[in-house]
Symmetry: C2
């Protein structure tokens, strides 16, 4: 769909050279990090303030042209692909720290700031932002997908760590949701509605973030199990006993084999747990001892633990490099990272059935799990041009998702729907999807906000 000419004039007048129709920029803003093919927007804009975003949205709305918000481009399910063309609103120039309130342990940032940049700003404050999805995502993107990651078992997801948002609505009006109070019962929780709405209800321009005190001490531990079930049980027991582990990551034997090859480790090729503990020095020691005991009762071997930063980093390298290690299994291929989340009592069963499907289809696909949450990732290492292989991967993915839903779980624990998981939303939520559609219709009657995502 070609742009109406006045739209181009109006956006150029508004943004000058921060409006671009060059193919390079359009291509760069037409895809995330997964295998989903590039679908270029017609133009890319780089507003520098909420007001400029609002003005851009008003121009697009006046011409009924689609708007695709774009953060750091690290999404995995086709969230940023311009499937119906339109104008990309890139937040890469919205990167200010607006306020930092150490005493209240909160800050307000513009949505294009990445989490690592925020980390930099927090240096010396005694505070940190715990959500770690792996990639150096923008905080706006993380809010828009309801992101989480390795520390959710202790610190929650974006939903528990965002206090409020500034959002430009589909008609260009600007609203502020939430507030700096730690809790509120004043009206509908719009903050939580926009968290995870993937740009389909508005453009997030500012985020009010809850921070946490840096723990006095941190320690880490790694141990291997002869079965996946034992490893999962170790995490379940740990959580049930109220040990506040900060991270509990499970790598299956295929993933362990990959990291051994990639980084010259010699870990046992077995299901392996990586723990991190936060607290007082005595507290983390107690946590580690409790977990060591639980793990040993379940037959764990090679229980290693480390309190010094350097040793911890070494211990966690295998986990941090998991995705690159997986990619290295088939040089030249792409990674397709998918995720589901199930009640933890079904986690081992769901992972094992998925492993069996992967193996019987002859696919290469390590599995990594945020085991404390019941969330796991399959990284299919595939050749996107090999349609037959992609078909096998799609079939395993579909089976895994339907199994997770049947177990009371979800088609995506943290990656979001984008267009990749769209076919499964109805299977998971049934009639509730029509309520989501009613909300979409109410807030975006022209259907210009990131169309073709979440819903068809």
């Amino acid at each position: 769909m070609p742009f109406p000419e006045p739209l181009v004039f109006e956006l150029e007048a508004l943004l000058g050279d921060r409006f671009s129709m060059t193919e390079a920029l359009r291509a760069q803003h037409g895809a995330g990090e997964s295998f989903h093919p590039i679908e270029m927007p017609g133009a890319v804009t780089f507003p520098r303030s909420t007001e400029e975003v609002a003005a851009t949205v008003r121009v697009c709305a006046a011409h009924a042209v689609p708007i695709i918000p774009f953060g750091a481009g690290t999404s995995l399910e086709g969230h940023v692909q311009a499937v119906q063309g339109g104008v990309c609103i890139a937040t890469s120039q919205l990167t200010e720290l607006i306020e930092l309130n150490p005493e209240d342990m909160d800050c307000r940032v513009e949505s294009g700031m990445t989490r690592k940049t925020l980390e930099g700003h927090l240096k010396g404050s005694g505070l940190f932002f715990p959500i770690d999805p792996g990639a150096d995502a923008s905080l706006g993107g993380m809010a828009a997908t309801g992101a989480s990651g390795t520390t959710t078992v202790r610190y929650g997801t974006m939903r528990e760590n965002v206090l409020g948002l500034t959002v430009v609505l589909a008609d260009g009006r600007v609203i502020r949701t939430g507030g700096r109070a730690r809790k509120s019962s004043a009206g509908y929780d719009l903050t939580k509605l926009f968290l995870g709405s993937e740009g389909t209800l508005g453009v997030i321009t500012e985020i009010l973030i809850r921070l946490h005190g840096i723990p006095e001490a941190t320690s880490a531990a790694v141990c291997s199990f002869s079965t996946l079930k034992d490893a999962v049980d170790a995490v379940t027991l740990t959580v049930q006993m109220g040990v506040g582990v900060a991270r509990a990551e499970l790598l299956d034997e295929v993933q362990m084999d990959a990291v051994n090859q990639f980084s010259d480790f010699s870990y046992p090729v077995q299901p392996t747990l990586f723990f991190e503990f936060h607290g007082s020095p005595a507290g983390v020691e107690e946590q580690a001892n409790t977990v060591a005991e639980i793990a040993s009762d379940l037959g764990a071997t090679d229980f290693e633990w480390a309190t010094m930063a350097e040793d911890r980093t070494k211990l966690w390298t295998a986990r941090h490099e998991a995705y690159y290690a997986a990619l290295a299994l088939r040089p030249g291929c792409r990674g397709w990272a998918t995720d589901v989340c199930v009640p933890i009592s079904r986690l081992a069963e769901c992972m094992l059935a998925t492993r069996s499907d992967i193996d019987s289809e002859g696919l290469v696909a390590p599995i990594v799990s945020h085991a404390g949450d019941g969330n796991f990732h399959v990284s299919f290492i595939v050749d996107p041009d090999d349609e037959e292989e992609m078909g096998r991967a799609r079939s395993v993915n579909k089976k895994m998702i339907m199994r997770a839903i049947e177990m009371g779980g979800t088609c995506t624990g943290e990656h979001g729907v984008g267009y990749g998981k769209m076919p499964y939303l109805l299977a998971e939520h049934g009639e509730a999807v029509s309520t989501m559609r009613s909300i979409k219709q109410a807030l975006d009657p022209q259907k210009i906000m990131n169309p073709g995502k979440i819903f068809s």
Copy 2:
């Protein structure tokens, strides 16, 4: 507004003697626990299943008659008053435990179950439900107001502890939101939208609740401070240092005087903190020591702590009886419990300014604070028939709310809007209120769901 005759026939046919128009039942279901006057619904219904709720809603919708959901009647801001008449849907016969999954630490209950009944069901499971708003509220009511209470500083509010809901929509359709996975990024977070919607978007009939492991050890501590600021600072430092206190309650000197009189205590008539610690035996001891040190640095006196259940109960009696002690200050009067929540850095200032307003208006009104959250309650002890006195209380209340909002806080931290806080929603949320209205309009176009609440 008299009922259309067919409505009466249809509801009688549906529910038999669980449909009632007797004055006693209508009066009983026309008010909560605060001073707001009774406003009777035209009829009260007692459905026994989600299907019966749905059928009741369909009948009311067909006749465009208002519906007021009613839990245990413990609300404080006029949530259940039938301000436009209509049919009350009481959930007192929706009290089943549908499923309890100890391994996943969750359960699904019908919405009329009270939190103390749930506590009973959990006996022997090693699990507990932490949210404690004081009253033995229904879990549906707690969900509908986004309730919280004394343990929020550690365990969060209903928003962090409800995984999913079954909701009957305004047209009688039934949806299930959320799911048993610990987290999900699959579509809009409808669970969080209905939490805190106060019956204005649908009737909650089932709640999927997140449970927690009972801590191995619990201990409690009480200490007094010469200034309110010091007491608040003690809590702030505690939270900043990452000490995971389970409760941190602050009673001001007026409230302490009231509990001394009521229960024959001899606590210093000073701002006083009540702490509770959950963890391992060594962990709670360490927490208590850290807090004792912080408190002592801030000049705290009379630091008492207790690990045995009996001693803890004794220590916490003053806190638990605070409201009754306040009422006893003026026998025959009513309590008007109001609340605001501010960033914790402003808590002492906001409480002190409010205390000064109370005193200069010559009102009787102890203050209690969930200090870790920045949330505090003023209990005006008033004669609702004394219009002049009520005017002074309203004026102090309004000043307090506007001050809280100006400080970046909220007009209600946990009581909800009802109709009592309705005038302040716009001051707090501005343009965002129109987004709330759009959602209301989309989900309840006939405006029959608890009309006259949250919005005018």
